[in-house]
Symmetry: C2
Subunit: 343 residues, 2 copies
Amino acid sequence: MRSNKAFTTRLHVGIDGGGSKTACLVGDEEGNVLACEEGESSNVKSRPREQVEETLLSLIRGTVARAGGAIEDIGSVTLGLAGGHRPADKQRMTDFLKPYLPPSASIQVHNDAETALAAGTWGQAGIVLIAGTGSIAHGYLPERDCGVRVGGWGYLLGDEGSGYDIGRQALMAVTRHADGIDEAAMFSEAVLRHLSIRDPQQLVDRFYESGNARKSIAQLARLVIDMAAQGDETAARIVQQAAQDLSRLAVTARRKMEEAAGGDLKEIPLVLAGGLFGSEFFTEQFMGTIRSRMSGSAVHTLRHPPVIGAYVLGLIQSDVQLAESTIHSILRTWGDTERKIES
Amino acid sequence: MRSNKAFTTRLHVGIDGGGSKTACLVGDEEGNVLACEEGESSNVKSRPREQVEETLLSLIRGTVARAGGAIEDIGSVTLGLAGGHRPADKQRMTDFLKPYLPPSASIQVHNDAETALAAGTWGQAGIVLIAGTGSIAHGYLPERDCGVRVGGWGYLLGDEGSGYDIGRQALMAVTRHADGIDEAAMFSEAVLRHLSIRDPQQLVDRFYESGNARKSIAQLARLVIDMAAQGDETAARIVQQAAQDLSRLAVTARRKMEEAAGGDLKEIPLVLAGGLFGSEFFTEQFMGTIRSRMSGSAVHTLRHPPVIGAYVLGLIQSDVQLAESTIHSILRTWGDTERKIES
């Protein structure tokens, strides 16, 4: 830990609030990442709002202290939160944090897809496609301050191509096989073995009495992708459908941005984020479906976490020039921070 | 209410335990329905098991008393319950009821689809296809005591073609339209108007913060079917898919029964039950998909409630001959009972 000192630059706090944990990063205006800490989930759909606010406040205090700074040094706080695109949610979070921060500090509340995109484009124009438990595409054009969202409706209303969607398709293939409707003997056996279940009827107890069925269903996506990679037809069909559904989200996001910009955006980069793109096989399948539909776009997988995007948006908001050297500094010092967390 | 008297025949108690309410019917061995009462849900997935048991016991006591009888007059109790096909559930319910009933009384626990089928075939061979909030096909061959189930896996693992499935497809059509992925402007507008929602984003609050999202989603099926009847293309596509998925359940059930019987069962009747078949338009759509795939089968919609099937199974179990006159007696006295309940 750094010793307390008067900072010559202001501190910028970036927060990525996920469904299972919240990351908080503190850096300075030169792109030096000084500390990063993790706390509990900040999803107000799964935890009481007061607890989420308490988690966020204590994370900010803890991470700023670990960075060797004080609350008075904070120049900006930028949050990427599920639901953070909704005006009421933005306002409530801003009102909550304001009294605890210096009067000059700016507070920005974004949707978590917006900060993920900023981590992939350093705040420049682009589209992020996130495929984890859920799915969403988010595009942003800074020159018009225009953002578009496609998907992100959650497991009841959407989330096509997500881990949850893949897992649910897998379970439905198993029940259809058990019913004698479809052939999928090997696939079905592999899924049941993976779940340590003998009789498909046990699926009912497993998933309806589980407190977090959505997460356990999404966790099956890894198995399905592995089986598709090994050539299983049922798995391949499910993965192919997911890749196509995800492509549709990204393609629609670009079309909507082009409509907003009134012109061609063929060169806009596409950033892939979320657990599914952690699989090379899945990413290849996706690339196969997207190439013809989105030619021109550079596609790359997000290699560093969305919390960096929140920090970057905080710097931009504070009129810090994001020079090449600043970006290099962020990546280098983030690497150091990660090693510190791991050790 | 009948005055208390010594019954010359034993009383038979039939119970249909649904997700929202439980019906209990008491009749004699001649097919005279003497009383029918309703109580709370007996679904152990949504209520504590002890409460469900208490509900059932108090319903049996109340309905037998209303029929003018006493517990000692009971010859059989037959229950149709969600999950009632599972050995552990059967055993637990039997063990619970036994001490409260005369030692000679038989207790049968069936799945609710089995009692619905018995209401449609008077305990003879047939297939019932139920399309309500969920979906299931159940077939039974008395000469082999062979029952087959297809579907009935619930909203996470199956329920293709159910009200829930139709409602969810409708909501996904609305979110895809809001995203600019699909055309469905009129359909989308109608669904949002029906829900008194202006901005599709409000769907998120409505359905994720609702205590019973599954039921509210299933309730949209009625609107979708009405719109399909009026020629809306999106609605028609959803309804057509549901009709095909339901056909597949019934066709697969017949194939499995033929495999078990080792021969042709083309003449086996198909009974349609559940809320969706309350719509003539939906039933017509379904008939259009099933006719070519299940030629030979007489198809009819269940016109009286599954609780009658539980009573019928109790009579058969007690070796009562189900003559034409008994069936007529059941239908006539049930009609009288219904009028009593309504007045």
